[in-house]
Symmetry: C2
Subunit: 316 residues, 2 copies
């Protein structure tokens, strides 16, 4: 089952189920928003499945009709679970290794997620405007102290996310130890939120085992696979719930998808490609984004189960 | 004007205005929650002032009736604006100075703020359970790029907050550079959210110029004054809004209130007192909290304008 939110002028949009071809939608009687369905997930199952069936003959929706599945959420916790990414950044910038055996995770802004084809306003090109291609999951209510072995049962939906990042600010904030505020503006999210069963074999061990393909201004940038997470989403959920309960609608991100085979599969952020260029000698060559740059993200080999993020960066 | 939220079994409670003596309340016609009033602040003024007048003859409310003013919020950004606190921690633990001229700020969990007399569940006494007495403000909608000189006009309400902290985890997470997730469980908030004008001369230069008094198990722990912030709340708002707009209902915290005269005014967190004990030689003497410990916070010399936080830590 695939769910989405269509724009309606309000802050939370209107929940819809999506047809198999992604072209048609139907509303869900009794559940006007995705958050409402997540708050009442088990009871909502019949209505959601009926809407999914109705969507096959539903109204046609265009990409610009869709908001982010959750245009705002009560919590966004982003991991950094691909060790290849961390290792490359550490080697390029000559950092000391991060001293932890636990998953890396920060809390990011969750009051706004940008629609998949909306323009992305940024304050300045001098900030080092960059993208990060990630997979994410949406949880149900998770009790404090939930163990990793129990956590997969709380995964409701899977997402494709672009975690926009400002690279001129990120290391300054990271050095304080306080995490990122200015360096992490609002994320963008692909239109379709997908139940794990819909992904079939591609949902394994709490990982989205699909390539995540990024293009910049129409040119291939990378397509590494989500299989290479050091920690699965169940382990990220358990980490997040160590001293807090997670409300339904919590979004947890994988961090930048990155594979050791980066010479063939490329990267899902500019910063990592620049690190690879620095390690190869001769310094970074790939520039960060400019106003007018277009970034596209999709997943899988055929039609993207999450639909497509296709956006332009603009002066904010 | 003082506003509060009374428990009603729902996630957001019911908005009330509070009488001058803090003992009586009246609901606000047309605005069932504080978030709804914040979303529509200018238009809500007449209804809020009428409710404040009605509260003088309103129904009697007991401390246990109150939820946190915002039982959940779309954003919680906590500063660390008292340089004395940072200097003591750095000296005691022999840290390198934090390299930044900007305000320190992290994003914390905002989906739950604990009611002022509710028990506070914690996973383990071994985590180093500690409190942090802070002042905070609630903003209206703030546009991205808002300058500090324009930011005070966006302050809607002032709060008294206990930012619960787990000291065995905090340094481990801080070393990663990603900020705190596990070390920062839900905060508690005093019952009354106060408009800045209600504070009179005590609201100056974007600072709450009042002593914040903490007691642990009925014994004085400290009463340092909020005047000593290195950055005012207007500067914290501008820092937060550098690359994002802030939604109405954003809560921004001052960080642990701390004064250079700590020998006479004490501290508002155990960790700082332990640091002072370490610097004096002989190691830390004050223990972190146990299950059953009671922490009380109030502000001002007479009746606390924010009311009182009075809570017990329990096994979660």
């Amino acid at each position: 089952m695939r769910l989405a939110t269509v724009k309606d002028g309000g802050r939370d949009g209107t929940l819809v189920a999506v047809s198999l071809d992604g072209a048609r939608v139907a509303t869900v009687p009794g559940y006007s928003t995705l958050q409402a369905a997540l708050d009442d997930w088990d009871a909502a199952q019949d209505a959601l499945h009926a809407a999914a069936a109705a969507a096959e003959a539903g109204r046609v929706a265009s990409p610009a009709d869709f908001a982010a599945p959750l245009p705002r959420a009560w919590q966004w916790l982003d991991g950094s679970a691909f060790p290849n990414h961390g290792a490359l950044m550490q080697r390029a910038f000559n950092h000391a290794p991060i001293e932890t055996d636990l998953p890396l995770m920060y809390q990011g802004m969750s009051h706004q997620f940008i629609a998949p084809t909306d323009d992305v306003p940024m304050p300045s090109e001098a900030d080092g405007i960059d993208f990060e291609g990630e997979f994410g999951i949406v949880t149900g209510d998770v009790p404090m102290g939930c163990a990793a072995r129990d956590a997969l049962a709380h995964v409701r939906l899977v997402l494709l996310i672009n975690d926009w990042s400002l690279r001129a600010i990120a290391p300054v904030e990271m050095k304080t130890g306080f995490g990122w505020v200015q360096a992490k503006p609002a994320c963008s999210v692909a239109p379709f939120a997908v139940t794990p069963d819909e992904l079939g074999d591609a949902w394994r061990d709490g990982r989205v085992c699909l390539p995540l393909t990024v293009e910049v201004d129409g040119r291939w940038f990378g397509n590494p696979n989500g299989v290479a997470m050091a920690f699965g989403f169940h382990e990220l959920i358990a980490h997040a719930a160590r001293s807090r309960s997670l409300p339904a609608g919590t979004i947890i991100g994988s961090g930048t998808v990155s594979n050791p085979e980066h010479e063939t599969v490329g990267s899902t952020c500019i910063s990592e490609r620049r690190a690879i260029e620095m390690i190869a000698g001769g310094g970074p060559k790939t520039e960060f984004l400019s106003f007018g740059s277009r970034v596209t993200m999709r997943a899988g080999e055929g039609a993207s189960p999450f639909g497509v993020i296709d956006q332009q960066v603009v002066a904010g």
